[in-house]
């Protein structure tokens, strides 16, 4: 199965698809929130629509001596990074950008989130927002290195940094079967760069919302949509790099990718309510002393398997 690059005219459609899946994730989150509040599951399904309507009718909040340009860059950065991430993910036979270094590109885009979250925290000149920004950088220092090596494993197994080749290499066996550690670390890192669930301390309740605290109206919508979009982009990449991408019986490849992305996304969303929030400084020791050596061992195992097979 070869991957063809579609023309630039399809970019809006790809963006709309990403936002639609992200909205579905937000619906699921709303439904789960409604259930935990004792209301019927269905009553929360329309949360993203209601929130969008509410936030678009709300005024932006301006703070004293805010660094507006940097704040705007940070707020728009999350959604932009998510869009740039999915640009390299092959959607069945099509992809927006068939880069030879797709895996590294994904990594570079998730590093843009470092800048974006910190700038969104720095911009409003507010103590709690800045604490949130610093917390994100502290957390990012813990998850980024394990994530880099987790991304190395599928690239080594496929012998290529191009995502089309990574998918093609999984025609027999999905990578998740023989790189479970890399997959687990990858999923944790997706939660990390999406400021999600257990790794959501930078936007946590302990700092009154952290980076979100001064964002209202369109700004808050962009930040929230950006977080869901990052989670979605991470799930799409995980489905591509570890869960076989478009491989599967009967259904067309693009539908398989959609199904796998949705399944991984649903797991990530559902786990949010099951796990406690980890403070960034509590994350450092397990990330550097447990996750990093484990994922390095995983890369070693993968490399040995590749060498033995060749």
């Amino acid at each position: 199965m070869t991957v063809t690059e579609v023309s630039a005219g399809w970019v809006p459609l790809a963006a709309a698809l990403l936002l639609a899946v992200a909205a579905a994730a937000a619906s699921l989150e709303g439904a789960l929130a409604a259930r935990s509040a004792g209301q019927p599951l269905g009553s929360g399904l329309l949360t993203p629509v209601a929130e969008t309507a509410r936030l678009f009718g709300q005024r932006r909040r301006t703070t004293v001596a805010a660094d507006l340009p940097l704040q705007r860059i940070g707020i728009a950065g999350l959604l932009t990074a998510a869009l740039l991430m999915v640009a390299v993910v092959p959607f069945g036979r099509w992809t927006v950008a068939d880069l030879t270094v797709g895996v590294v590109w994904f990594n570079a885009m998730d590093v843009l989130v470092w800048a974006a979250v910190w700038l969104a925290g720095w911009g409003p000149n507010s103590a709690h927002a800045l604490v949130g920004g610093y917390r994100f950088l502290a957390q990012a220092l813990s998850y980024e290195l394990p994530l880099m090596f987790a991304l190395t494993a599928p690239a080594v197994a496929a012998g290529s940094l191009r995502l089309g080749d990574v998918v093609a290499a999984q025609s027999g066996l999905w990578f998740v079967v023989w790189m479970p550690v890399a997959f687990a670390v990858f999923c944790a890192a997706v939660a990390g760069f999406s400021v999600w669930g257990p790794l959501g301390a930078p936007a946590g309740a302990t700092t009154a919302g952290g980076v979100l605290v001064e964002a209202a109206g369109v700004d808050r919508w962009l930040l929230s949509a950006g977080r869901y979009a990052l989670l979605t982009a991470g799930a799409a990449f995980g489905a591509t790099a570890f869960l076989g991408g478009g491989h599967g019986p009967l259904l067309p490849a693009w539908l398989w990718l959609l199904v796998k992305t949705a399944a991984l996304l649903a797991v990530l969303v559902a786990l949010r309510r099951r796990l406690p929030v980890i403070r960034p400084e509590q994350l450092a020791a397990p990330a550097w002393l447990v996750a990093l050596p484990l994922v390095l061992l995983q890369v070693l195992v993968v490399s040995v398997v590749v060498v033995v097979q060749a």
Partner: protein, 179 residues
Amino acid sequence: MLTGIVFWVLAVVAVAAGVAVFRADSMARATYALAASFIAVGLVLLLVDLEFLGVITVLMMTMEMAVMGIYMIMFMGMNPALMPMDMVHGKRPALAVAIGTFVVLAAGALLVPWPTRRGAPAADLVTSLGEAIMESKMLVMMTVSPVLFATIVAALVLALPRGRYDRLGDDLRAGKAPR
């Protein structure tokens, strides 16, 4: 044609952001101006087909500048919101040296009769780079790795004020941190 336009836009962004680093009155703006300069150069590398190195430049420099921002704010010991950030010495000589360097380099760039291109780029540049550092240029990689490792250790030794006993107390086996 399109490549030319993109190149000039990126070139102007890179140099303007570079100048902004030393003209901005805000530590965050100075740092992220430098990040913008690096991202522009990284994108120029993509224009000359250096995909891997271009993306790596963007990746590393965004990360470095995010960390750099923290150090700026931690160590500047001043509040640029209250006073202009003009902590310089020998401004005039520095400017003269910089302009002189630019004139010499620019003259070199324009006047030297550069040879014509020899050879063609490999079909798969990423693979050719990987093969270079793992085969013919492996010594480079073998030197770079210990240097980077030594850097990690040396930087930690310099920067950390406390040793392992400060973290876990005298009785390492008990493994309880003094609170």
